[in-house]
Symmetry: C2
Subunit: 382 residues, 2 copies
Amino acid sequence: MRILILGGDGYLGWPTAMHLTAAGHDVAVVDNYLRRRICTEENVEPLFIVPDLHERAKIWKADSGYGIQVFIGDLMDWEFVERVFKEFDPEAILHYAEQPAAPYSMLNRQAAMLTLENNLKVTANVIFAVREFCPKAQIVKIGTMGEYGTPNIDIEEGWLEVEHKGRQQKFLYPRQAGSLYHTTKIMDTDLLWFYVRMWNLKVTDLMQGPVYGLTTYENESKENLYPFFNYDELFGTVINRFVVQAVVGYPLTVYGKGGQTRGYLNIKDTLQCVRLSLENPAPEGELRIFNQFVETFTVNELAEKVQKVGNQLGLKVTIKKIENPRLEAEEHYYNPAHTGLMDMGLEPHLLTDEVLAQMLETVIQYRDNINEEAIFRGVKWD
Amino acid sequence: MRILILGGDGYLGWPTAMHLTAAGHDVAVVDNYLRRRICTEENVEPLFIVPDLHERAKIWKADSGYGIQVFIGDLMDWEFVERVFKEFDPEAILHYAEQPAAPYSMLNRQAAMLTLENNLKVTANVIFAVREFCPKAQIVKIGTMGEYGTPNIDIEEGWLEVEHKGRQQKFLYPRQAGSLYHTTKIMDTDLLWFYVRMWNLKVTDLMQGPVYGLTTYENESKENLYPFFNYDELFGTVINRFVVQAVVGYPLTVYGKGGQTRGYLNIKDTLQCVRLSLENPAPEGELRIFNQFVETFTVNELAEKVQKVGNQLGLKVTIKKIENPRLEAEEHYYNPAHTGLMDMGLEPHLLTDEVLAQMLETVIQYRDNINEEAIFRGVKWD
């Protein structure tokens, strides 16, 4: 299958590109290095230097024999979109090309507007490009479990059957997110759902939980093929942050009561999920939604796990509850369904002590790279 | 109250500006004449020439003694937003500043992108400006009944109590709209709801049905104070279009089966609704939602009403069912609540034969201005 990966430079984009070529697909990646630029501007560099896409494609080709086509440009620019779609003629589009960080989206007005504009315009351009250049191609889009927020009822997979005054209607599951970033993902879903109904698109929208890890099937002990790994408050996901904090002796930053529960997954499972979705496309005219995570934890549970395994490795890991810079429920009901991807064949990797130990050992090799000032700055939601 | 009206040049913006000054408020209007530019580009001019805002403010001042401050510029441009908010220091912002036409938003990619970008960025800038320059000011925003679409259960006013597996949660009423324009209004609601929760804004979001009419309390028989009145397929609302079609002998264009039901209101009632909302602000931290219409009709009922009254006036009115260019349910359940504005004191004007006769008689005076080619071009949704 010819798969065009938008956002191919990102934490998930590059590992996915390798994984899909290894699975026998033709892959092209697109990126404008927005994430790199923002990380440089905000002084939150990743844990290790990541070669650019042309360089990584060369390394991967030498390593595996698989080629990856690279397009560098801005997907908000229609002329660029047109060139990419015409040249590559994709059968599937995997859309990761969004500003991916909740705290960054709450930093200030400019960051909020960048997030809103980038995420919405790129999603719209993807829809228009499919309509114009490859109407039979499927779209697989990375949404977020954060679209649902933390409602007091079970979270179903994308849809909700409502009974009201004796009548029934199936709706998109009502969404209310906890950051502007997450809200743009709700808007993406609104937009995709509208055009699926109008134009019979084939769309899979993956409501993904926070991802952790840095080694995948394809990059094990190949440092120059590791993903862009942030450990800072702005771009780092919580398990990745805690692992780095444990290594550098920074007290694990638990926000507020720490009862915030989310659904987590190993980066290897992200790769499986998107591959399974691509290889089993949504039918025409369907917005197919899966909840993409494998197990739920509270922040306290994550901190305790990292502390335990860290201490076993001889680190002195402490936990510090700090005032929550976010506006969010710190204790809440959380019971999200997640059977769709399992039914398609996902074989979950769980957050075992062994997995955490491997992550810690990998990060220990880069201890000298860690910039403690990047770890926490307290971007406030209000 | 110092009220800043964004989109003050539009069909509703200008009549509202006059109405609010007559009610004793200090009013400034902002517009970039986007509607005028698009109408010129698409060759769908209004029924009569409308003086620009500076000119209309002068006419209204001479007529009534009330002044209206005029700002011309683009609310997507933050520097302009900043200047307007600092100079006028509003206590309330009435936000009409959106590309308002569903068919235009479905015309082509450029029109869709203009709608998406303009509507979202202006709404975001309004939120950021209130936060930065006047955090105590209230926002009154014009949404649309079209955000709800046509679900098979009763439409409540903005919110829905859901019971699911023995647990309960109050959600924003799930929305699924029938055009990109309407979808951008859903996104506006998503955005407002998010920042209301984060920043304790005071917001009223008015889910308005299609408006009809051209005379208001303030402009009766004052032609040069009439609103921008479109009768074309792109920008004209259905009753206004039917009235013009009846006058010029063009068969009333009923799309498909004509069972499409919507909630309608007279432009005089729009003025009452926004004034009542402004004079009774939402409390801090509340997204208050009202369904803004006074009676529901099918398209067939509207066509028959216009035909009957038109024929009584000696016009030869015919009705023609044409293939529906839109993708929409042509027969459906529709039972929307609308008590909130009535409870606040709205005194509805109904669509009586007399009201229709007055509209027809007014439009007859402009019969020579009607461009039959503008009436229908069949912008297709798919």
